[in-house]
Point group: D2
Chain length 286, copies 4
């Protein structure tokens, strides 16, 4: 039973009468058993969002046959849709600079099988992470970045990722901006952790900004990366209280716990195919 | 558009293939537009839970016709189900003893139209609440309770509630146990606020218990009332940090804010027909 | 015992060796019993902050004699200081526009004696609040504001406040900016509630801003009012989770609970003389 | 400057007039500069608690001379007191059974220098932890426990700890009860993480208990270990929301994050000498 495979359909389309019926009929008519169904209609945009998960066991279509069988319905209702299977193990590349707490946390969680994913490689513009990465048996690649070589390095990184069949990129405190073609290829598949409660303290040194402003709560934000830095669709956020007693070092210490947890939560939601992006926002079916 | 009326169906039944399809077809076949659908399957008990909300506008069945039309499907799948309409305004009786913060909060929220409900009356075993209740134009009834008169008073209270067509009873810090027939008539319709994070500090004086134990967080719990005191199905809980600096009076002050908010949240979830009770637990479709 | 009066000294000065000793000796040498002492040194500015509370009962100085007796010490160490007595009952004026939830909450809390304060009057640029204000026996004053009359009206308001010996001004969702002389007279004594997690969503319509940005958590901020709108020293903040399911109306509903609690908390901290302002930040001795 | 050493005095005694003055004079008279002072008086027990930290730099007493110099004052006021120096690096032994998330988290935090401590060894009644412990270069000791050998094994463990000059024992999900003499030797120096919000769900399998009760929030508790299991003085607690959607596996997943953070927080408070225990409670000077 534990190894039973499910199919997950994530879709969005203009809201229309009968969408839930049509989609659940499609599954039922092929003898599928829905184990989770969640639906949301954005009142503003009149957009319909759905996540539906059903057992492949007993389903009358082979998994390769599903897309073709579903396509007519999808076309009729102008759906954007993705189909996932729960036995697929996505491959993650982690990018990091010099702050290693998020990277180490991801490696350790993966080592303890908290994620259904593989992390075959870590890429960094510095060498600090090499030791702990290799200690856990992962491959480490060093891509130093300068203004002069940035475009070239990004191109090489992308080739490496594609050669290693990477599905998801996680920026675990990576201090370089991802640009152009990289963003397009990994659209809605690059997750960043920002060490503030966005949109507060976007940009550089949010610990210092929080300290200077005298806020009583700090936060962390996991989001998809888009061209506009720190403005990508937010996946998860969390906060913790601080006080006048907290120095910047204390703020950093508290924030690091937040960052680890929020990044892990955002990544897990992505891995479980619970997120639909529309515009600059997300629907997260928890 | 704002005044458009929706139907809400809350149901549970043994899990079976095709339930989502059957139910959404029932709505679609009568030309209904689903605006929200949420579903849950308890893996343990293999029980299926669903909340589905659709627009009556354009629906081909009159609201009185729906139950008869739905009954065959319900019988076939052994459903427990309730049908609600969003233009129905439930009537609430609030019971209170001497701590008035929750009562006053409910009255004020209702005065500001936060709830879609009426509060025609307040019942108390003491007189403390009379002034503020009557100040807001609500009826106040005094039912002093002794061991000797309790059964008789409860019977009179129940007659009063039924005479005034009360749908929901809220115990807003009411220090008497509700018994027997009262519980049956208002089964799953009596909401209590307990001033602790249940199951911690059940029973009397939870502030004192929390202080004595030296916990660092206190809580409040909104739950349905059952025969076993403080063991009813939990609807909502929330917590707040305390420290060694907090005296019992400070704990009480902080708790009162929690109690108000948790009770209001639990009541709102009930009023929006988002709760299904099964056994000693709830499914809350938020 | 309950009515025993304490003195509270709030002070800040350049950090120097022996400050705690000098101050506690001053109290001890006059036979005072310290019941609370809290101290903080800002590492950055090398500023020393202290709040010390002692019993007047048995203290060898009369309360009128304390300032003169303390002055030499204060001068020697260049202290900024304020002396308070716990039997003083501050007088609060609440300013409000059309959203009444914070106002009503304050009135009700005061009615239930949660604050050690009086609220003799409410001032509004609209008439919406009149009914509930007068229902609770408080005075209501209507000061409609236009661009033309603003300066004149503020002057009249200030005369009214001074005539009624108002100590503290609370802006409970007051949609007008306080200016110039008013700010000076009530420096560090005007508390505003902003319905966002500052510095995120400063300015107008933060509910809409939060909705549009797709944040997963919203907040509220209680702060002192300064010339730069929404940039005053922050006293208290709190947050609540939201999701894609929350419409702007839902966000507003959740935020209103936050606003009430955060404003009440900020006001209580002020009333208990727990706050020291320095620059654009606060030290809050909780 | 960073390496400047401070002294920290933690003390409690019956409340008396002049304690703050006497203690701060002791420091000032030896030319000490207080950098933090925090004080609390328990109203119930009339007990005075204080934590005071001052710079050794410039202090006229050598660190070995302080105890003798302070003793007369301590005796006069019947103080219980401990003196710490911030350059001392405590040595921690971690005990673990088969759930390794807390252990791994502690090792990783220590590896990243989050704690000012050493973890020379890990002790387990199972072998699961060996690999990751040794991977990080720590010593692993296997002490299998049966009813028959428990007393003997505990004795050997204690000899090992004392031989390795261990100051603090952390039970990072260790599924054995610590008894008798061990408890006495490491009184108030054994920290346990319990995977529930104590006193709720004390004892075995709190995840299952929380699931069965249908609570909407779960928690974790860091506490000192005493003879009565799960009743030791609480140091830190935190909580996270759950819903009907969370299976026991989901609850476990969420709880593991809590446990890691709460244990790390409790340990850090202990390492920073911020905790005073009295009876079954703690004063935590944050």
């Amino acid at each position: 039973m534990k190894n039973a495979v499910n199919a997950i359909l994530l879709l969005s389309c203009p809201d229309r009468r009968g969408l839930v019926a049509k989609i659940s009929n499609f599954i039922f008519n092929h003898n599928g058993n829905i184990v989770h169904a969640d639906q949301h209609t954005s009142k503003r945009g009149k957009i319909f969002f759905m996540r539906v998960e059903w057992e492949l066991n007993g389903f009358s279509l082979g998994r390769e046959e599903i897309p073709a069988a579903f396509a007519p319905l999808a076309e009729q209702f102008e759906m954007k849709w993705k189909l996932h299977f729960t036995d697929y193990v996505p491959r993650i590349a982690v990018f990091v600079s010099r702050h290693l707490h998020c990277l180490n946390d991801l490696i350790l969680r993966n080592h303890m099988s908290e994620f259904k994913a593989e992390i075959p490689l870590v890429i960094s513009n510095h060498l600090d992470a090499r030791e702990s990465v290799e200690q856990f048996g992962l491959q480490f690649f060093h891509f130093p970045i300068t203004q002069a070589n940035k475009a070239k390095q990004e191109k090489l990184e992308m080739e490496l990722l594609q050669g290693m069949k990477i599905d998801i990129v996680v920026l675990a405190r990576y201090m370089q901006i991802i640009t152009g073609k990289f963003l397009k290829v990994y659209h809605d598949r690059i997750i960043n952790i920002h060490h503030s409660f966005l949109p507060a303290f976007a940009g550089g040194n949010p610990y210092q900004q929080a300290y200077d402003r005298g806020v009583k709560i700090i936060g962390a934000t996991g989001h998809y990366v888009t061209e506009n830095l720190d403005e990508g669709p937010i996946i998860a956020q969390d906060v913790i209280k601080i006080s006048h007693r907290d120095s910047i070092a204390d703020i950093q210490m508290k924030s690091k716990d937040l960052e680890r947890i929020v990044l892990a939560r955002a990544l897990r939601l992505h891995l479980e195919n619970r997120i639909l992006v529309y515009g600059s926002k997300t629907v997260v079916f928890e």
